[in-house]
Amino acid sequence: MTIAIITSIKDENERRFIEELYVKHNKVMWKYAMSLTKNKDEADELIQISFEKIIRCIDAVKKINCCKMDSYMVSIVRNSYYTLLVKKYKEKENIKDIDSAELADLESHDDYESVLEKNSTSDIISALENMPDKYKTVLKLKYVHEFDDEQIAKTIGVQTNSVRMYKTRALRMLAVRLKGSECNEK
């Protein structure tokens, strides 16, 4: 009986938490969704997809720091937009792949320390520009919002192993582009 009551309270608390999130953020989320889709109905659909993703990972979402919640909401809407694109237009990921020669070169000279030391914040921002949104979402969920791989996988709709792969690819992509920018400067 006690367990049933606790379960009931937990469910009610979760419901209230999600409702509060919706009430607080839905208008800003919708405006951003509208800026992405340029269509009111699709913007509505984006909000629905976003909250489905939030519900799926509610345990992790509850742990997000309140001052980071704004950026999380924007991130979720953007990720939902790409989910919608894939769903509606069956668009494949437009990944600008690392050149295999570049990758081979990087693997033989894996030196993130020097990459980190020699590049400024603005260099990193430039290097991030062409990175696929999925990789960016993985980085933000992992390092800013501290989701684990399973929760990230549920949010973006991939297998857990893919999360690790995206992270590795993001790192290599960043390193190659930053190294490339070093060379350009020289």
Partner: protein, 237 residues
């Protein structure tokens, strides 16, 4: 060692990238928060849809959790009942006193059936019940009623002596069915109070069966032919 440091720098690079991306998102949020020009004309509909979706989620979660709880409790109850049943079965088959206690039950008379009583003692109560029934008035020495089963259409009495030697007597309507083990038995024709009967004998064990117009009578036990005939001939109301 170098690899570990390298991995660490890799992590730092990614963390830095993630923070920068997050800061960009925050700026986007602030930009739209301050933008009053974009308004959702279907705000009410969207509210109903999303809040409804959240309520459905709550119901689904509750149902899922209740189901899991029910499964756990049912398993525990099933195990408990199983243990109880095994304990009951073992005690019932091994402890005679428990068996008798369990077998002592009373059915209330409703329309067709009389009071059915199983008892391990002869007493005035049983004698009263037998008053309207056919039963042996002669018993071999030392025997007394041990158990009875009495209904409108059937009477069974178990007799025992101090050495726990038993014999049984029963009678029932001629339309009832009963089975008697006659394999490898010698059969002797007898007459009991003008009625035809048979004695089935094997290794000192005898079963005497005879019938009147209405009933079939059976006496079953380890006794001599003379004794079993004497018991049968004493059957009356």
């Amino acid at each position: 060692m170098k690899n570990n440091f390298n991995d660490e720098y890799g992590e730092i690079l990614l963390r830095k990238a993630a923070i920068l991306l997050s800061e960009e998102d925050k700026k986007i949020y602030e930009k739209f928060q301050n933008d009053e020009t974009i308004v959702n004309p279907n705000q009410e509909e969207l509210d109903i849809k999303i809040l409804g979706m959240i309520k459905d989620y709550e119901k689904k979660e509750k149902r899922k959790k209740n189901f899991i709880l029910l499964k756990k409790v049912s398993l525990k109850v099933a195990v408990f009942i199983g243990v109880l049943a095994i304990g009951f079965a073992i005690t019932f088959t091994t402890v005679e006193a428990f068996k008798v206690t369990v077998l002592n039950f009373i059915f209330e008379q409703k329309e067709k059936f009389t009071l059915i009583s199983l008892s391990d003692n002869s007493n005035g109560d049983i004698q009263t019940k037998l008053d309207t029934k056919y039963y042996p008035h002669y018993l071999p020495e030392g025997y007394e009623i041990k158990n009875t089963f009495i209904t409108d259409v059937r009477v069974e009495i178990l007799y025992a002596n101090k050495n726990n030697e038993i014999f049984s007597y029963s009678y029932f309507g001629t339309d009832a069915e009963t089975g008697i083990d006659t394999e490898n038995r010698t059969i002797t024709n007898v007459g009991i109070n003008g009625f035809e009967g048979n004695i089935f004998s094997k290794d000192g064990h005898r079963i005497l069966v005879f019938n009147s117009d209405e009933y079939i009578f059976v006496v079953d036990g380890y006794m001599t032919q003379a004794e079993i005939i004497k018991v049968a001939e004493s059957i009356k109301k």
